[in-house]
């Protein structure tokens, strides 16, 4: 007993203070690839190597439309390696969660040279990832919401709808002493009846479709659904096939999407806090129904 106490004291506090303080992450971390569209002379090499089709092209005559979908991205970094013009750069950004799937997609239109490289940039539609750029205040707001509106606790039910278990590992890491999600009053619960939020991973397999629907149905209103990882958002590398439906929103209405393969714990936390805001809105809007 004394030894246990001694170890606890000598270890001290290891919990990180994200999002009140910036996340301490390795400078080698591969986060969001960023695209310098003016500089991009040829999107073909990047599109060719991308394992999930997150970067795709459609050529029509002398014009090319390039689509980048962070909802498909597995953050492998191949696009940056393949693009010799240095127009694709791997950043350390990870706070990519968004309530709108469209925010994860950006497009650029080019005029092409005869050799199919880019001549001129015609138009760019930028994805508005990082909708809530002020992550620190997001944390504060979420904490207040949980305190006041949700009676000091937010209950999450997690469902693996066919993931490779990578996302689960990072969700479990939210409970470790370093990330310690309970400091926000957030806890993972066993029963969907107790849950305010459904956190779903995986491309939704045909074999998990029914279980996912039933779990969602068992939750009381108001409830929010969060789709986790490339698979949860779009089917990821598995896509749509005879056994995979290709994303949570094929089956359920999704409130927040968290990109990543898997999203790191801080990215998950960011997405969950974002979803707390959605839940608060819903509570506010539907208040009359409850009282």
């Amino acid at each position: 007993m004394l030894k246990i106490l001694q170890k606890t004291i000598s270890t001290g506090i290891v919990t990180a203070n994200y999002p009140a303080e910036p996340a301490k992450i390795s400078d080698r971390y591969r986060g969001r690839p960023s695209f310098d569209f003016d500089k991009w002379k040829d999107a073909r090499p990047a599109a060719e190597v991308c394992p999930t089709g997150a970067i795709s092209l459609s050529d029509k005559g002398d014009s090319r439309k390039v689509t980048v979908d962070y909802g498909l991205c597995v953050f492998c970094g191949l696009c940056a390696e393949a693009s010799s013009d240095q127009a694709v750069r791997i950043t350390r950004e990870f706070e990519l969660a968004t309530p709108d799937r469209r925010n994860l997609v950006l497009t650029a239109e080019y005029t092409l040279n005869p050799d199919r490289t880019h001549r001129g940039l015609r138009k760019v539609d930028r994805a508005s990832v990082n909708v809530e750029t002020d992550v620190e205040s997001l944390g504060k707001k979420a904490r207040e919401t949980i305190q006041k509106v949700l009676g000091r606790s937010l209950a999450i039910r997690e469902v693996d709808a066919g993931s490779c278990n990578g996302c689960e590992l990072e969700i479990v890491a939210l409970n470790n002493p370093v990330h310690d999600i309970e400091r926000f009053g957030i806890q993972f619960v066993a029963s969907p009846r107790h849950a305010d939020m459904l956190l779903v991973t995986g491309p939704v397999t045909r074999n998990m479709e029914l279980a996912l629907l039933k779990t969602h149905r068992a939750m009381a209103e108001p409830k929010v659904v969060v789709a986790v990882g490339a698979c949860g958002i779009s089917g990821g590398i598995f896509g749509e096939n005879y056994a995979s439906l290709g994303g949570v929103d094929k089956v359920l209405p999704v409130d927040v999407y968290i990109p990543g393969c898997p999203p790191r714990p801080q990215a998950l936390l960011h997405g969950i806090l974002l979803a707390v805001g959605r839940l608060a809105e819903r509570l506010h809007n539907n208040r009359a129904d409850f009282f």
Binding site: K3, I4, K7, T8, T11, V14, I25, S26, R28, Y29, R30, V49, P51, T52, V74, C76, G77, L78, E81, E158, V159, D160, A161, G162, S163, C164, N165, G166, C167, E168, L169, E170, I171, V172, A173, N175, N176, P177, V178, H179, F188, A190, G202, P203, T205, R206, N207, M208, A211, T215, I237, F238, E240, N241, Y242, A243, S244, C261, P262, R264
Partner: protein, 530 residues
């Protein structure tokens, strides 16, 4: 099987089994193919097991109708003390679509034979329990791994029968259904317990909830993309599965990976092992209420995944292994981080183990809990940690050396007791051995190259590749196709063999001990279901 020349093997088998043995060929010394004239593998299986003590590692099928007009079944054998794999290739007649089942004598292939039934529509004649396993009962009659079944097929809503679990009778006997959505944050599967009061009489498992068409998908996507699919077979074994896959391609193309690439793979494979083992040790502790040990273990795991990220840019070691070696080299700063983190970890890990060792109550809960007897473990073909705790002395790193393992000496811990405590002991010993391997590998003086470019892969090459993932034996078997694509990719995760061990180990234990017994095996659902 030990004989080096294929003609000698052919003569010996021919003499024993007659004209059924059609040919023996080997493109590589450590991989011999025996072609049979028909689907009846019982005599050769009997012969190999009896005369050579051979173990049947995996069974799978391939649809070769478009090219050769038949389905083939493949039976991968290995023998103690030999690095050679012997693969029996048996044609299944296209008119009857039947092959004789081995499951009655070899329960180890029970699920794998049923997988062949479900995915290829071939019939395992004489199977003791031929029901659906890999496609659930409510699926229509489709055979997704046949060549004429398109991957993108959209099946209508399922209206078939639901799975009927075997009933349990008796006074006070109850059946407790659990899952597929579990209480914790884990993968989905259904457990049906028959209990008499607290003790478990019988456990029925229903897996394949996360079946997502992985093997079929491998036939569609080009090789360089397929590496990422291999990394997503089982998230916590990303590097092991990625390595197994890349190795298979490298063998098929006779590529020579530079030694530095092999050494780096070895280090990362061991980091993956350490990381998962320490998490499991913590999880076992928490399942018997020792949450402080769990807190320390998960803190240490977090240190290790940070290290993973420092070494590879990914907390799960993804995006690092590639066909031809590894994608990036390491600079001095990274090597320093590796050395320092490992030193810190080694000291902390010892303190964690001391905490657990000193806790009488923890020991009391874990000893004699969830016992898997050695004879049962052998019959069921259990591999990896669960096997080694029950006397099954297998380790691919030693038995079929790959990466740079032949350069380093290490001990393979084997116990006979087979309870939760000893499955934990195996992990503890392995963590210590792994630390030793990484330290030795770091001091290996190597040339700078860590990667060779991927050439065009020659078509129609078959090869088997094995890796000792942290759970146990991972096997990938491939047949290459044209344009850097695959014709077939069979994935055997150790979990596929090991689920029956859980069924065996929980019997007679109280239902409250199920979580800790399950955790002590910690099998991959996604690796099983693919």
């Amino acid at each position: 099987m030990m004989t080096p020349s294929t003609s000698a093997i052919f003569e010996a088998l021919r003499q024993k089994l007659g004209p059924q043995v059609q040919s023996v060929r080997a493109d590589r010394e450590d991989e011999v193919y025996v072609l049979l004239g028909d689907a009846d593998v019982r005599p050769i299986t009997e012969h190999l097991r009896r005369e050579f003590g051979a173990r049947l590692a995996t069974v799978f099928a391939e649809d070769r109708r478009p090219v050769e007009g038949v389905f083939f079944n493949y039976y991968v054998f290995e023998q103690k003390g030999s690095a050679q794999y012997l693969i029996v290739q048996a044609p299944v007649r296209t008119d009857t679509l039947e092959f004789p089942s081995l499951s009655a004598e070899l329960p180890a292939v029970n699920w794998q034979e049923r997988e062949i039934q479900d995915w290829f529509g071939l019939k395992a004649v004489g199977h003791p329990n031929p029901r659906r396993v890999a496609l659930h009962d409510n699926w229509p009659d489709v055979y997704p791994l046949r060549k004429d079944f398109p991957l993108e097929t959209v099946l209508p809503p399922f209206e078939g029968e639901r799975h009927i679990y075997r009933p349990a009778f008796g006074e006070g006997v109850l059946q407790v259904p659990v899952g597929p959505v579990h209480a914790g944050i884990i993968e989905p599967g259904h457990f049906n317990f028959a209990v008499a009061g607290e003790p478990i009489l019988y456990l029925q498992l229903r897996m394949f909830y996360t079946h997502k068409g992985t093997e079929k998908l491998f036939e569609k996507i080009p090789l360089h993309k397929a590496v990422f699919l291999a990394e997503s077979i089982s998230g916590d074994s990303s590097f092991s599965h990625g390595t197994a896959f890349c190795q298979a391609i490298e063998r098929a193309a006779s590529m020579e990976v530079p030694l530095r690439g092999l050494v780096m793979r070895t280090i990362l494979l061991e980091l993956e092992r350490i990381c998962n083992h320490v998490a499991d040790i913590g999880a076992i502790a928490t399942d018997v209420g020792f949450v402080i040990a769990h807190a320390h273990a998960s803190r240490l795991k977090e240190t290790l995944v940070d290290l993973n990220e420092q070494m590879t840019g990914s907390r799960l070691l993804r995006g690092m292994v590639c066909i031809g070696g590894v994608r990036r080299g390491w600079d001095q700063a990274q090597l320093d981080t590796l050395r320092n983190t490992l030193d810190f970890f080694a000291a902390e890990f010892q303190e964690l183990i001391n905490l657990i060792d000193r806790s009488e109550s923890t020991r009391d809960r874990l000893e004699q809990t969830g016992v898997l007897r050695p004879d049962k473990a052998r019959d069921l073909g259990i591999v990896g940690v669960g096997g080694r705790a029950s006397g099954v002395d297998l380790d691919v790193r030693r038995d079929h050396p790959y990466a740079a393992y032949s350069r380093y000496s290490f001990r393979v811990p084997v116990y006979e007791v087979g309870d939760v405590w000893h499955r934990m002991q195996v992990r503890i010993d392995e963590v210590n051995e792994s630390i030793g391997i990484v330290r030795k590998a770091m001091t290996d003086d190597l040339q700078r190259e860590f990667r060779v470019p991927m050439p065009t892969i020659p078509p129609d090459r078959c090869t088997v590749s094995a890796v000792e993932g942290w759970r146990g034996e991972i096997i990938h078997w491939i047949r290459t196709g044209p344009d850097n694509h695959l014709e077939r990719c069979k994935i055997k995760d150790p979990s596929l063999n090991n689920w029956p061990a859980l069924v065996e180990a929980v019997q007679g234990n109280i239902i409250a001990d199920f979580p800790v017994i399950n955790k002590s095996f910690n099998l991959s659902y996604s690796g099983t279901d693919r």
